[in-house]
Subunit: 105 residues, 2 copies
DNA sequence: ATTATATTTGACACTAATTGTCAAGTGTAA
DNA sequence: TTACACTTGACAATTAGTGTCAAATATAAT
């Protein structure tokens, strides 16, 4: 199902494929190259706005990239939590319950 | 499966069941009653440490309460995100993948 | 109605986490 | 040995999270 590449890896691969340099892209994002370098190596998280711009610049599917990105934020939230995967499952249940309520209304 | 009560509701119910006042518990947590009041009404998030203490004070199962709490933090992370439930599913896949790798090592 | 107590509300202070810059460092290839 | 791309780490700026306090509201007992 191909979700084993990190957002950073996806970004770096696509950038290199296009022959672009860090400074080309970081200029468009209006940040220092240092940050983009760190984002690509998963040393820093991007912001949502940066992700959306990156999808544009690199011709990546916005929804896919955003889902990757959000899933990493979720996992970061439960990093080194013993009960992380239980919490994820419960979160999904709650989400379903909420969505049900919405569709009823 | 009973995951439709918020952490705050659980805390308030149990506190009232025990006939305790906000100030009794907030004293033990070393915070103002105002915050505990807000936590019980889901207007503020507790910290993990507060959750663990609350489980102690109110004789609630630590793991259950922590899972409730963490699941709310996860949902908070994807609040008003269209793609929230996709992101949750992908997070679970990644989690499984990571856990697999661990058990192989 | 008045007092007493419990809880709630909102303005604001403090702290911690996140996001950023900058300058010096490393790697690689003319 | 110069040039260029990228990386690293110290630290500055910004934003989000956690808390206090005092005033407001709610409820119940005189």
């Amino acid at each position: 199902m191909e979700n084993n590449k990190s957002t950073g890896e996806i970004l770096r691969e696509k950038r290199e494929e296009k022959g672009l340099l860090l400074r080309h892209i970081s200029a468009e994002l209006d940040i220092d190259t240092a940050i983009l370098s760190k984002i690509e190596r998963s040393e820093r998280k991007a912001t949502k706005e940066q992700i959306l711009k990156l999808a544009d610049i690199l011709n990546l599917n916005k929804d896919n990239l955003l889902v990757q990105y959000l899933s990493e934020r979720i996992l970061y939230e439960i990093r080194d939590e013993e009960l992380g995967s239980k919490a994820l499952k419960v979160a999904e249940q709650k989400m379903k319950y909420i969505n049900n309520k919405k569709s009823q209304a």
